[in-house]
């Protein structure tokens, strides 16, 4: 695909994944609202998956390694489940602290 690359595709996306992890962790740890922290968590997650998937494509001739792909699909769904729980907790906290619902 394209001429002989000056830098292997996998290395470009692997390093990009590493940078995304760094950016995401910065966004996660800096003092911010929970919603932004959940967003940063998703960025770190997708950065890790990009890096993991890139390391599976180091030998383009044999095609991408299916094992990381399968693990990443599992990871993406798990990350969505965690995001949904975080958002639900966040909204519940806003509801409860707004005093609208002082249940037992």
């Amino acid at each position: 695909m394209g001429g002989d690359p000056i830098i292997a595709s996998w290395l470009v996306y692997g390093c990009c994944g590493a940078v995304l992890v760094g950016l995401g962790l910065f966004g996660f740890m800096r003092p911010t609202t929970t919603l932004r922290r959940v967003l940063a968590f998703n960025i770190v997650g997708s950065g890790i998956f990009l890096l993991f998937g890139a390391t599976g494509y180091r030998v383009p001739s044999t095609g991408a390694d299916p094992v990381p792909q399968a693990l990443i699909i599992t990871g993406i769904v798990v990350a969505l489940a965690a995001t949904a729980l975080a958002v639900a907790l966040m909204l519940a906290l806003a509801r409860v602290s707004a005093g609208r619902d002082e249940d037992a």
Binding site: G2, G3, D4, I6, I7, S9, W10, L11, Y13, C15, C16, G17, V19, L20, V21, G22, L23, G24, F26, G27, F28, M29, P31, T32, T33, L35, L39, N42, I43, G47, L50, L51, A54, G56, Y57, R58, V59, P66, V67, Q69, A70, L71, I72, I73, T74, V77, L80, T83, A84, L85, V87, M90, L91, A92, A94, R95, A98, R100, D101, D103
Partner: protein
């Protein structure tokens, strides 16, 4: 040469989107950048020959997570602003992020360039796995145990989301009441799209055995389409306590676990004898898709709403 140019451009845009999403104080802008980021990630996955993951990322990254975050932003509104950012804490976060990022960068470039991972082993056993698509073979046969646990993780997250409902809310319908103008753009779009979405979702699940696709990607597309109809106010989600809903949620993981336990009679767990592997895996995929689609819809809708006073 051009290929590297393309890859580098994608990566630069990805990093810019990520940077814009984590900095600045405007939450809405951060979410829009995240949606565009999800799109670019799907393009990146295509460049590293991972079409199955690109499908999943397109449906979840650019689709469901975006809807989840926008929905949360819609309901949080002004309560979501941060007073001020203590300088010290920002510095610590910067150092931590940069440090871990640099360490990972160092590790990535130190990896053996010819590492082919388990590609050979998977392709060698592909015939015995019963399906044509190597990723589906790994997901449902070689490492089916991970997928089984993961479908339980989805259920646990849903029970967790439901359990933060208000005391009066138990038994109500999940999420907020959506409404749209009768015959308006939103409603007609909501009425038109599900038909096509259903066909495409089913196609993706069916294609999963031989080509890219499968239970998760198909399930996510079906979930996204169902959410659209709910957002368009055409349909309201069933009550949290309805019996058929709970059986449907449990059906996918239940069948998968049941089939796995059948193997115990033959002295192994979660085993698909080659003769019966294909039909068994396809059957599990169909049931799993239904449960996953339903669970994802309910996860995005959120906890049951408060009972009307």
């Amino acid at each position: 040469m051009i290929a590297s140019g393309f890859d580098i451009t994608v990566c630069v845009l990805l990093c810019l989107c990520a940077l814009a999403a984590v900095t600045g104080r405007d939450t809405f802008r951060a979410i829009v950048f995240f949606i565009v980021y999800g799109l670019l990630i799907s393009v990146a996955w295509l460049r590293i020959d991972a079409i199955d993951v690109a499908l999943a990322e397109a449906a979840i990254g650019a689709g469901l997570t975006g809807v989840l975050l926008l929905g949360a932003f819609g309901q949080m509104g002004s309560a979501d602003t941060m007073a001020r950012e203590p300088r010290g804490a920002v510095l610590i976060a910067l150092v931590a992020g940069a440090g871990i990022g640099a360490a990972v960068l160092f590790a990535v470039q130190g990896l053996p360039p010819e590492g082919a991972g388990l590609t050979a082993e998977v392709l060698a056993q592909l015939e015995a796995s019963g399906v044509g698509n190597p990723v589906t073979a790994v997901l449902l046969n070689f490492r089916g145990y991970d997928t089984l646990l993961e479908s339980i993780v989805l259920l646990v997250a849903l029970i967790g989301v439901w359990s933060v409902a208000s005391e009066t809310g138990w038994g109500e319908r999940p999420g907020i009441v959506h409404h749209a103008r009768a015959g308006g753009t939103l409603q007609s779009f909501g009425r038109f799209l599900p038909a096509i979405g259903l066909v495409i979702g089913a196609y993706i699940v069916w294609a999963g055995s031989s080509g890219p696709g499968g239970a998760f990607q198909g399930g996510t597309v079906l979930a996204a389409v169902a959410i659209l109809t709910i957002l368009a106010g055409l349909v309201d989600a069933p009550r949290v306590t309805t019996r058929w809903l709970r059986w449907a949620l449990v059906m996918g993981p239940g069948v998968f676990l049941g089939v796995a336990l059948l193997g115990l009679f033959g002295g192994a767990f979660l085993v698909f004898p080659q003769a019966v592997a294909y039909p068994a895996i396809v059957a599990i995929e169909i049931v799993l898709t239904a449960s996953i689609a339903l669970t994802l819809v309910l996860l995005v809708l959120g906890p049951p709403r408060e009972a009307p006073q």
